[in-house]
Amino acid sequence: MTDTLVAPSATPKHEDERRGVLQQMLDSSWLLIVTAVVLALVASSVLVAAADQDVQKTATYLFARPSDFFAALWESVYAAYSTLFRGAIFDYQATGLRRVRPITETMTASVPLIFAGLGLAVGFRSGLFNIGAQGQVLVGAAAATYVGIAFDAPAGVHVALACLAGIAAGAAWAGIAGILKARTGANEVIVTIMLNSIAFQLISYLLTTSLLRQGGTRPISPAVADTAQLPLLAGASFRLHAGFLLALLAAVGVWWLLERSTLGFRFRAVGANQRAARTAGIRVNLVFVLVMLVAGGLAGLGGAAQILGTDKQLQASSAGSIGFDAITVALLGRSTPLGTVLAALLFGALRAGSPLMQSSAGTPIDIVQVIQASIVLLIAAPPLVRRFSALHWVAGIAGSTKKKEAHA
């Protein structure tokens, strides 16, 4: 459906010359991303404030005593974002080691997002829009769970086997879409969306059978064996597990694959221009299958890490919204490995911080989705960020006056 994923720069060339040096500096992608994140937080704070009952109450006599309104406004927004920060980065109200627990939670939450996001990034770079991370994560999680509960093996071997099972299952699941695309031209967007739903139903069914079920009436698997769990990295008081290191390794691996290997070159060539790639002798259909295998394997490993490291037990809802969040992660990370890791950490922070925000500040967890979506929308449209950011606005005025001076 798409040939390239990176949006073409929306600013025509001649406008570039018109803008000042300062403004061109502000266009650098890092500043753009930071500005977009800030703008998204500001935009979401409108929702936070609108749902706050104190704000609603003071708004009824806004013109009589505006100070009350703005105090309540500040109060609600500050409470939400400060608890989000305390839950995600550093809890300055706690004591001892608990103060740094939030940042490890953020890292833990980001693990499946990194894996699945990397998988999607490989697909995006190759021109395949794989929406199927959700299903791939789920089947990967299920396969890893099965190995984790059904077999006995020594500690290191067992966890490795479980991870491999996750990779294999995810790759196979995504491979269906790849093979169908290669053999019949079936649109991968449709097939992967369908495979997501099928995976959910399949795992729901398997959780009612003796293959995965614990025994009770609830459709939940028993906990995986101790030998199959990913080792904890920072002691028993933290949930951070070795999956985080694996994820970082995977990011390096994907970087090498995409930037340094022949295979990765073929992937990118197909992503850049399928016809040219075919003319150059690249077997495009084979690339489709390989890309989906890599993407699915990574997503499957993400699912495995979620079970073996964090959840220990499988439910039909184990994948949560990992697969869909991973799409935004890969987009925000501009489909580069480093970007994906950083984006996954950001979204992991939002996931890790939101429960505290909900319990202490009373702001529902759902605001996180709004923030995530706003960030990605803003990143995707740099001119929009420029229009709304005060910094860019000031720079724009400075630039245009300078230009006038030069003309005069």
């Binding site: 929702l47 739903s197 995707a380």
Partner: protein, 435 residues
């Protein structure tokens, strides 16, 4: 419908892509007969021969308000299933002959084939069940459940025919459903919800087209992200405003049923087609009007020109981006109406009420090859599978409900991969137009 006279020249025709080698053509030609053959053999063996010979399958057709009362009847399960499967095999043989002669198979053939296999499946799944299969209930449910999908696929079609990929159908449905519930609850009048829903959908459509045309962001990205945004905003408002005061915000009245005089009393057809609320009748009108307008009007021709070859369209003076903006906003409004249809039964809003229906609608649009009547047929297929799951869930069946729930998705994959093959989207879809 005949194979020769294709009334829509712009309809995607299989296998006419320039440059495809003859070898590829031969392979594609064989895939159809193989798929049909395998399916009918499965039908023959599993649904027919493996059914115990003594079982009978009961059907119930009448509802209380019919003019003529048809008594529930029963058929011998194995015999019926075998007979129908043999017919399907015969059809396969005919398809094979047609393929060998390199003739294209008419549209009614897969429809008839699907119907035959479906009958075999129904006979098998209800074999030996003491309850009768309520056909009228099943079909009415199928239509009701498919209405949001139909509106959704029409929305997708309106956008894609003009060159904008609309993945945000999900968000448009959800926004429409949300606003319909809130407005109908606040005013106490269900028809106000029906007016409000298209506005919500149109706003999402406007967001999509703003990013797609003004900022030239990749349209699939915008669509996916808009879905997340709408899910986030509606979830957030649900957890705050709607749960704080469910009485005034989240208790919409039911959209009244308007039975059409006389027509609604015909057995089976009446209750299935002519005993619904206004939104279903609106769907009939929308499909009919769009089928004509898209392929037979100046408006439709311009829309398709913009979607296929924007430069040519621009050269003859059609405003490309304006057409796209209008169509996407209109599409969003249509999808919003689908959201209203989703909650027409007076349902309260819940988190992620649409549950992926927007994506199913997208699949229906592709399966229906970007034409309103095709979208209608594909959406009805999905609605039927959903309805079947609900009915069989109540009656009990040998198939676990999860597998029944999988059916529409599996059918889509089979159709997209096996029978439809390389469908051809509007050529300029997803590409921003710059003069």
């Amino acid at each position: 419908m005949s194979t020769v006279a294709d009334p829509q020249p712009s309809q995607p025709v299989e296998l006419d892509a320039p440059g495809s080698a003859p070898m590829v053509q031969a392979k594609v030609g064989w895939r159809g007969p193989i798929v049909y053959g395998v399916v009918s053999l499965i039908s023959l063996v599993v649904f027919g021969l493996l059914t115990p010979g003594s079982d009978r399958t009961r059907f119930m057709v009448s509802s209380s308000r019919d003019l003529v009362d048809i008594a529930p009847f029963a058929v011998p399960s194995r015999l019926t299933a075998v007979l129908v499967s043999v017919l399907a095999l015969g059809l396969t043989a005919w398809i094979t002959r047609e393929t060998l002669a390199r003739r294209k198979v008419a549209v009614w053939v897969p429809v008839l084939f699907g119907f035959l296999v479906l009958v075999a499946f129904l006979v098998w799944v209800m074999a030996g069940n003491d309850n009768a299969l309520p056909l009228t209930v099943l079909l009415t449910g199928a239509l009701t459940l498919s209405v949001p999908l139909i509106f959704g696929s029409l929305a997708g079609l309106l956008c894609e025919r003009s060159g904008i990929i609309n993945i945000a159908i999900e968000g448009q449905l959800l926004a429409g459903a949300f606003l319909a519930v809130v407005v109908a609850s606040l005013t106490g009048n269900p028809y106000t919800g029906l007016i409000a829903a298209p506005i919500a959908g149109a706003i999402v459509g406007l967001g999509l087209v703003l990013f797609a045309v003004r900022y030239r962001v990749d349209q699939i990205i915008v669509g996916v992200v808009l879905n997340v945004l709408v899910i986030g905003v509606t979830n957030y408002l649900f957890s705050t405003v709607l749960t704080q005061n469910p009485q005034s915000f989240n208790s919409p009245p039911r959209l009244p049923t308007l039975p059409i005089p006389f027509l609604s009393q015909i057995p089976v057809v009446g209750p299935v087609l002519f005993n619904h609320s206004l939104v279903v009748y609106l769907m009939y009108v929308a499909v009919a009007v769009l089928q004509v307008m898209v392929f037979r009007s100046r408006w439709g021709l311009r829309m398709r020109a913009v979607g296929e070859h924007p430069k040519a369209a621009d050269t003859v003076g059609i405003p490309v981006n304006l057409t796209r903006i209008k169509n996407t906003v209109l599409g969003g409004a249509v999808a919003g109406l689908g959201g209203a249809a989703l909650v027409a039964a007076g349902l309260a809003f819940t988190k992620e009420l649409t549950a992926g229906r927007g994506y199913i609608a997208l699949a229906a649009m592709i399966l229906g090859r970007w034409s309103p009547k095709g979208a209608l047929a594909a959406a009805l297929l999905f609605g039927f599978a959903d309805s079947l799951r609900q009915v069989l869930g109540n009656l009990g069946s040998p198939v676990p409900s999860q597998f029944l729930a999988m059916l529409p998705y599996l059918a889509t994959i089979f159709a997209v991969a096996g029978l439809v093959g390389r469908v051809r989207a509007p050529a300029a879809e997803g590409i921003p137009y710059v003069k």
